[in-house]
């Protein structure tokens, strides 16, 4: 029994199944906090704790998913290609906003956490917190960050941005639909984009573009910025 439930196939099937179940629960309730990914995290942790299967076994069993995550980073190149069409005519706002957003995102999170006394490993784990998870872990991993911390923090940032983003933007006097979509994608990556698509087509498109460009800019600039941060 124990070798059955700790087999690769069982753990992969369970993970995928919980994820699908989470999707159904999410669609029924429409509560951002009940995101399928969060539900899968929690359910899987509870399962491993109760059965006593070590995390290293789980990690080994799900290596396939890790490989697919690496592939999906490359696939983001396709997303970038699809979105770049939208650049036409708005190269200046898009380019400047991406660069400013990327630098703001990294510096503000690093310096705020540093002021609270967080050590360098933590700072490197959360530096790429505004970009989509696969890129964020590809940035923080080589810098010596903890990829579990990165993925959870990035994910929570996305949830926070998708819930409060619109309200914050309104308070900040951002009314242009293009700017609102762009800011949501820049601050809250894929989860913000999902929210932006619900708001409207213009917001959704600009949000997708922002997510792709922020990912690229952060991936290229963070290792370089990291040298000057400390």
């Amino acid at each position: 029994m124990n070798s059955f439930i700790s087999s690769d196939l069982f753990l992969l099937t369970l993970t995928t199944g919980l994820f699908c179940l989470g999707g159904i629960i999410y669609r029924r309730t429409r509560l951002a906090l009940l995101h399928p990914v969060l539900l899968t995290f929690v359910a899987m942790i509870v399962f491993l704790q109760t059965t006593g299967i070590p995390y290293s076994r789980y990690q080994e069993a799900t290596r396939m998913l890790d490989f697919a995550l690496g592939m999906s980073v490359v696939a983001l190149g396709y997303l970038l290609y699809e979105q770049v069409e939208r650049l036409r005519g708005s190269l200046v706002p898009v380019g400047v906003a991406t660069l400013v957003g990327c630098v703001t995102g990294v510096l503000s999170v690093v310096y705020t956490a540093k002021a609270f006394g967080a050590e360098r490993m933590i700072l490197n784990s959360i530096a790429p917190k505004s970009v989509t998870v696969p890129i964020a872990v590809s940035v923080s991993g080589p810098l010596g960050g903890n990829v579990s911390v990165t993925s959870v923090v990035v994910f929570c940032v996305g949830i926070f941005g998708s819930i409060f983003g619109e309200w914050i933007l309104r308070r900040c006097g951002v009314r242009d639909p293009e700017a609102r979509g762009f800011a949501l994608g820049a601050a809250a990556h894929g989860i913000g984009t999902a929210r932006a698509i619900e708001i409207g087509a213009v917001e959704g498109a600009l949000s997708g573009l922002a997510m792709a460009l922020m990912g690229l800019a952060t991936a290229l600039l963070t290792p370089w910025m990291e040298k000057f941060l400390y």
């Binding site: 050590e119 579990s148 923090v153």
Partner: protein, 116 residues
Amino acid sequence: MRGVFYILLCWLAGNALSLATGNHISGNIIGMVLLFAALCLRWVDAEQVRPAAKFLLGSMALFFVPYGVGLIESYHVILDNLWAIVVAGIVSTVAVLYITGRTYQILNRKNPGKNE
């Protein structure tokens, strides 16, 4: 299947370049740039990459579940720095929303023939 091949090939080339340049940027990120460049230069047909790319991008959330479950071993790292992480995360997200939103809005207005 050709889409999968192009994606893997870009990743492989990215890894090779990353290795050659001293591992400053991870190989799959260079691979992303290579795929983007190959599509723009029409070396690779976008139609052939689309199905594989759409599948990968659509299932991305499932792929990082194992990392999240890794919290089981590193939750203490977050708990030890809970305030730093929570405050920094919120402050920084608000800052990015404000800065990118305002910057885009201001520059977009100056653009003739746009919305306003």
